[in-house]
Amino acid sequence: MMALWRHLVALLPFAWAQYAFMQQALLAVIAAAVLYGLLGALLVNQQMAFFSDAIGHAALTGVAIGVVLGLGDPLWAMVIFAALLAAAITLAKRAAGGSADTTIGLFMSFAVALGVVVLSRGGGFARYSAYLVGDVLSITPGEIGLLLALIALVLAFYGAFFNQVMFVGLNASLAGSRRINVRAIELLFALLVAVAVTVSIRWVGLLVINSLLILPAAAARHRAGNVARYLRDTLAVSLFSGVAGLIASYYLATATGATMVLFAMACYLVSLAFRHR
């Protein structure tokens, strides 16, 4: 499969398309763009932008826990910590009532502080810095497989529960009256976001991951009159800024994730200028 992909990309008449690491990175970026586009569309609808940001920051704590446990690859520690945090935020948000951003901010501060405390004692800051900026060029074929598996998971969730999430996002009581299990849906979606963000963060970087989730959806909202169009436009913006960002970062020798964000931001501004309402 991978070999076939590389041959296909190598047919492109560009210098970058001849390098194995770029061929691989292109596939990874396309996969990540689809993953983020899909998730971002619902995240923005559910007004959960701050939530996904908090989950991204919690990756730090996951790394720290991994270091303390002496794990070579902290991925599982990261995923488990992010899932626990996502569940805690979702449950606390309900219990506390009031404003969700206070609850989320509280948990994020806690997670980041805990991560810094543990890392400063263990001296693992060097490992952490790789997660700040991320490096899509370091991705392996096996890890691309992981991204594709995540897309399959998100698609399965969107196939089964999209309509229910739509009602929950509109009004919890209204959703409840339609016999939708609001708590279960909220929790499931939060866990899905936590896992997807945490697994992919080392290739994209903590600093920009949330922008890649939020910006394409925010850009698509200006012109979309229904959810089908919204998802399509979100995916289009996400794919365009992903691929354009990768290629631009090759020529400019810049960090790929951040370059993709600049393209997404440009899309956002263009759509803002040509919005319907």
């Binding site: 609808n45 739509m166 996002g169 509109l170 009581s173 209204l174 409840g176 009256s177 200006h222 919204y230």
Partner: protein, 274 residues
Amino acid sequence: MNPLPTTLPACGGCCSKLERLTVSFGKHTVLEDISLHFHCGELTALIGPNGAGKTTLLKAILGEVPHSGALRFHDQSRQRPDRPRIGYVPQKLEFDATLPVSVLDLFAGALSRWPAWLGHHLLLRKRAEAMLAQFEAAPLIDRTLGQLSGGELQRVLLALAVTPVPDILLLDEPVSGVDLHGMDLFYKMVSELRRRYDLAILLVSHDLPEVAQYADRIVFLNRRVICDGPPAQVLGHEQVKKVFGVDASLLAALPRRDPAEPPRAARHCAGGAA
């Protein structure tokens, strides 16, 4: 799932029964021993002062607050063990005005399990259109929710609440903030609903003139059921006069906007428990 029987008039025989419902938050009892019957084809208005527990009662019926007592649905032919199916129109929907969800998306989500983001079958669109047409809302089908006026949104939500037709329809001050024309249109439709469909309606309202003209029956709630009966009787009750500061019994003498059958039976009315 067939939500669109164009006419399935009220049978008059089914009833959602609230039995000895009590809600307490800690030591504080918010609702005490509420027993009410909601008959199909009947519009019951729930009135009471602020803090009387009207919203809490709706939330208890929706299953959102812990409570003792039960809500049961009784059918003429059989007694379903199930809770009644509930339709709900919230007071004022808080949502982002740029939410890219169209009216059709919502109906598709209500009518089918097919995920709305994959587009809609033409048949589904027709069914949604037919449903909306009954609420003078068919032209709104491709608008996003943020593009609707207050009155339009409430009509769409009303149409959605009866898709599919529930056993009991809960309306929580559904027209607060809607202009006079929108309000009249809304009540006219609610009033028609109870004749066209086999469902009971529970309306929470502050608006005594509207209630007097459209309700078949009024329940005056103040943590307990203070009074339960036809509008003329409840609006003349001492405590209603005290809380609302007017002798609302005059309102009951106004011509009814809705020429439906008169209320079924006068229920007893007492100062204490119902």
